[in-house]
Structures are given as C-alpha cells and as structure tokens.
C-alpha cells in the first residue's frame, strides 16, 4: 500500500526494497578487484512513530544501509520510498527539500561537530539552509532546541571541545531536530559513550519519539541497547537481513542461528544468570568474497546444517513469531535462557 504523498500520510513511512550497495575500489587500475558487497538486497519497512533496529557486527552493512537511504551515498540498485516519494529518483533540489524530513545522528561525538563552529551555529545550520527562520527567531529556535535536548541554552556560544561526549551527542540530536524531520537514522548513537551517559541519550531519544512522533532507524551492534528502544529488530549478516521481528519475540525465541549466537554472546550483568555461550568458530568472511549458498553456513552450528546450506541461499520466510532466512529455522536450538522474565 503506497501512499499518495502529503495529503494522506501512509502508516508505512519508509519502504525499502531490494537495496543493494557495492563499493568498488577507487582508481583507474583497480578495475579487476572484486567489489565489496556491503548491502546485498535488503528490504524493510519503518512505520510512523516506530523504531526499527538494524543490528549486526562490523562489516554487516548496516551503516551503509543508513547512509544510502538518505542518499549520502548513491545506491547500486533497489528502491526507497519515503512518505510515498521515491528517494532515489529525486533531483538535487527535490532531494534538498526531502532532507528536512529525513535526518541522521552519527556515532562519533568527536567528529560529528565542526570544531570551528559554535554549537549554536551548528544547530542553526539546518534552519539557515532551509530558510526556516531569520534573525532573532533563529536564535530563539536554537535556544528551545538546546533546552529540549537537556542543555542550557546559554551554551550556544561555546565550542564543541568544551563539551563531553554525551553532550555532543545531544547537540547532534538538536541539530537534526532543527529541520523538523519525521524520520531519523540513528547510526550507533550511543556506542561511543560511557554507560551512564548512554542511558541519558537513550532516554532522550525515547522521549523525543513520544513527544514528536518520530520514527527511527536505529543502527547498533548491542542487543541490550536495542531492547531498550526498538519495537522491531532486523538482524544483518554479510549484507543481508537474516532475521526480523518484534523485539521481544525475536529475543525470546530467535530462529536464525546467527541471532542465537549474537544473543548468547551478549554479556549478562548478573553472575547468577550466566548462560553457556555459543562461541562461533572461524571469522567473518570477506564481504568481497561472500560464501555461496547461505552466507552464514561457514560458521553455522545448527545440527541440521548440510549440503543444501552450501548451495542454496535461504530466503526470508515467516517462522513462528519472526521472519528468518534459514532452511531449518523451525528446528533452530533455543538459547538457554529466555529474554523476558
């Protein structure tokens, strides 16, 4: 069901279909090097006021997905429809207008702010680019945005180096909010923060979602963090989604062996609840040379793993409460402990 645009906003705010992104080695003389297949046919929806988490380890392509949807990088193929608009076919002017609706918050608090710009100017940038206000009104908008993210508006004249990592993340969030988006890609926004600061920023993001009706594509590698903020989770491995479902359902009974391994590897801060961990053998295959058949088969511990896994790539299909890409998802061994009390 695709929406007609501004008049009747569809519930499915973002629809991504078969997104592919390959990186080719730069330079005239590397034409023969195989491309890095960062994203290999990813499809998902994000609904209004909902958080979809994209989870995976390094090299799975999740950050590439985030950046490509916003066209900070051009996709190799596939489509992304945002509020009924085909993002990949827009010209520069229309794209700039769209940028108001879709924003991004970055991972590294230390490089996400221009060191030579006061934070007030940084937050005001979107307002100036899109001419949303002028003169004194810009300043007052900046002040109220800073307040909204929990910072003293008097700090507007200060420079990034005067702030801690957590505060810088808040400034980055204020900057994104300045253009009044309805959708924000959060690219590992708390991974570089200390534990107690993580909690502050996560709470802020949850509050903003409630108050402003925002949707998030929350990119992360930490399942415990994801559990706090995401309604639905999509697990990525080597450029593909291997499992997807509602957060609690997926964590309670994961169906794809990789999800099981990922879950079992998350350290549990409770000595009485130590699970026996599934330790994956081998290393992540290179994204330039993904295995044939199921991408996970080289490290898979499923008791039913066989030749079919080596030759035939499984497709995502509904299995009980989630969707998983595994030939034998029905009989995936359950993790030792269950997710909810």
């Amino acid at each position: 069901m695709s929406g007609s645009g501004a008049s009747a906003p569809p519930n499915r705010m973002l629809e991504v279909r078969d997104l592919v992104k390959h990186y080719h080695a730069a330079g005239l003389f590397s034409a023969s090097a195989p491309p890095v297949r960062a994203v290999e046919g990813v499809s998902f929806d994000v609904r209004r006021s909902e958080t979809l988490a994209l989870v995976g380890e390094s090299g799975c392509g999740k950050s590439s997905v985030g950046r490509t949807i916003l066209r900070l990088q051009e996709p190799t193929s596939g489509s992304a429809t945002f509020e009924g608009i085909d993002v990949f076919s827009l010209d520069r002017l229309a794209l700039r207008k769209l940028r108001r609706r879709m924003q991004i918050v970055f991972q590294d608090p230390y490089s996400s702010l221009n060191p030579r710009m006061s934070i007030g100017s940084a937050v005001a940038e979107g307002i100036e680019i899109h001419k949303l206000a002028r003169g004194a009104e810009v300043r007052s908008r900046v002040a109220s945005l800073l307040e909204e993210v929990g910072l003293d508006p008097g700090y507007a004249r200060r420079y990034p180096h005067e702030f801690s990592g957590g505060q810088r993340q808040r400034i980055g969030i204020a900057r994104a909010l300045a253009v009044e988006p309805s959708f924000i890609v959060c690219d590992e926004p708390v991974s570089a923060l200390d534990v107690s600061v993580q909690a502050q920023v996560l709470n802020l993001l949850a509050d903003l979602q409630r108050e402003r009706g925002l949707s998030y594509l929350f990119i992360a590698h930490d399942l415990a963090v994801v559990r706090q903020i995401a309604h639905r989770v999509a697990v990525m491995y080597l450029g593909r989604i291997v499992e997807e479902g509602a957060t609690e359902a997926l964590l309670a009974r994961p169906r794809h062996p990789y999800t099981v391994a990922l879950l079992s590897a998350v350290p549990e801060p409770d000595p009485s609840r130590q699970r026996s961990r599934i330790v994956l053998s081998g290393d992540l295959p290179s994204p330039s040379h993904p295995p044939a058949g199921c991408p996970f088969h080289t490290r898979c511990f499923h008791p039913m793993r066989n030749d079919r896994c080596r030759t035939e790539r499984p497709v995502l299909r509904p299995v009980e409460a989630t969707t998983a890409a595994c030939h034998y998802a029905e009989s995936t061994p359950a993790p030792e402990t269950l997710a909810s009390a």
């Binding site: 916003l70 700039r96 991004i104 590294d108 940038e125 899109h130």
Partner: protein, 280 residues
C-alpha cells in the same frame, strides 16, 4: 575563531615563535613608521665628503658610495620587501587554497586534471620561469612583479590544502552538513575553509620568508625592483663595487634579509608545531 587565537597563543608561548614574531613585528613597524622620520633614502646629500662613511653618529649604518644613508635605505627597503612579499604571498595563498579546496572536495576528474596541472607547474623551476619573463620585460612595474611572484607560488599550497580537504571530507560533521541539505558552496566556505586556516597560516608565514629571498635575489640580478627605489637585493648589487672598502654598505641589507627571513621561518615553525599539537 577561538581556535585561531589558541593557535597563536601557543605559538607565542614557544620562545622561538615569540622571538620570530617580535622581530617581524619590529621590522614591520620600522618599515611603516620609519621612513618619514629618516633622511631621504634616494637623496645624495654630500658627494664630496659624505661618501662611504663608516657607521657612526648620524649614520648608524654608515653611508654608501653616493653618500646615501644606509640605515634609511635599509628601512625603506624593508617597506618594499615586506609589501611585495605579503601581497605576493596573499595571492599565492588565495589561489592555492581555492584550487586545493575545489580539487579536494569535488574529486573525480576535476581533481585529477587540476593536480596533473599542478604537477606540471611544479616541474618548472620557479626562478627560471621568473628570470625568463623578467629578462624579456624591462623595468617591470612593482604590481606586475607581485602578480608574477604570486601566481608562480601557489602550487605546493594547493597540494597541502587538497590533502587536508581529503581528510576532512570524511569527518562526520561534513556528512551531517550534507545530510542537512547544505549546498556545496556552503560546505566549502563554512566547513572546509575554516578548518584549513591553520594550514594556510603556516604556509603564509613560511611563504613570506621565501618571497623575500626570491625578491632579493631578483633585485640582486637587476631584474626585480629597480633603482632608485631601494630594495635589499638592489642594495647588495650596488654594494658589490665597494665590498672591500666599505663593507657596511652590503652587510647591513644582507643582515636585514637574514634576520627577517629567519624570523618568518621561526614563527612559521612555531605555528606549525602549535597546530600539530592541537590536532594531536
């Protein structure tokens, strides 16, 4: 802005940087305020008895073979040398920054083409190029001299700026600006340029020293500043004939060159250290 101030302050705390800055400031001040207070550098007041007088009262640097006061000429020459070098260097920096920013940010074919041009230009020795042009053009006006020196000195700077831009391009705040919909122009002027100012400051300071030497050399060969306008290089040229009998005529302008260039280099080094420290 505070970052620039911090850089300057750190360079000031460095004793060598401070020395360089103070000497340069002294030379600049003398060049600005000195000439009205000093005897006319061009006048030849006393050809009978005032010729080749050694340094002493009334003539701290002595007089030359045409009885001109050497001190007044050195100070006057400072005006010319500093003016030429600062203006030429400003031209170089602007051109270098512009080309570097464009090549670095646009990338692709633009970058390749521009950088190959720069490579080609760097292959030609600057001095020979200038000699060629100046030898063919008699009595070149100062303005043209400045433009010639300026337009032959931007190549290395453009490479440096381009390198820095390539690095900066990957920073998240540039991505953030793109995500906000910032047009390229804005990214270059609001984000990239301010972050290359440090680099440019260093290149500018070192460039001043380089141009002073260049101009002095050209004037010494008779191709730069022409008499009667005093210039340090020109003064050394004229001092050749009395080198043994009245060495002060050539030594003082020579010292002026050495001290000024050295100070510019010291200051430039201190600025560079200060910027590296900030980066680290």
């Amino acid at each position: 802005m505070t970052a620039v101030v911090d850089t300057l302050r750190r360079a000031w705390q460095n004793p060598r940087g401070r020395a360089g800055a103070l000497v340069l400031a002294g030379v600049a001040l003398a060049a600005l305020l000195g000439p009205p207070l000093l005897p006319d550098p061009v006048a030849q007041p006393d050809l009978l008895h005032g010729v080749n007088l050694p340094p002493g009262l009334g003539h701290p640097f002595g007089t030359d073979q045409l009885s001109r006061d050497v001190f007044a000429r050195v100070v006057s020459g400072a005006r010319v040398s500093l003016a030429v070098s600062v203006l030429a260097m400003a031209l170089s920096i602007t051109l270098g920054a512009a080309i570097g920013l464009i090549a670095g940010y646009w990338g692709g074919t633009t970058d390749i083409v521009l950088m190959r041009l720069v490579d080609g230009a760097l292959a030609v020795p600057r001095l020979f190029l200038l000699l060629l042009v100046l030898a063919a053009w008699e009595r070149v006006p100062i303005g043209v001299l400045i433009v010639l020196i300026g337009t032959t000195g931007w190549f290395a700077t453009s490479r440096l700026v381009r390198g820095e831009v390539l690095r900066l391009r990957e920073e998240s705040y540039i991505r953030a600006a793109e995500a906000l919909g910032a047009p390229r122009r804005r990214i270059i002027f609001r984000h990239l340029l301010p972050n290359t100012l440090g680099l440019l400051l260093v290149a500018a300071t070192l460039g001043v020293g380089e141009v002073i030497l260049l101009e002095a050399g050209l004037s010494f060969l008779g191709l730069g500043i022409h008499p009667p306008t005093p210039s340090w290089g020109g003064m050394i040229l004229e001092a050749k004939e009395v080198l043994v009998t009245a060495p002060w005529v050539g030594v003082f302008p020579g010292l002026a060159i050495v001290i000024t260039v050295l100070s510019a280099d010291l200051l430039g080094d201190a600025l560079r250290d200060s910027i590296d420290m900030w980066r680290a």
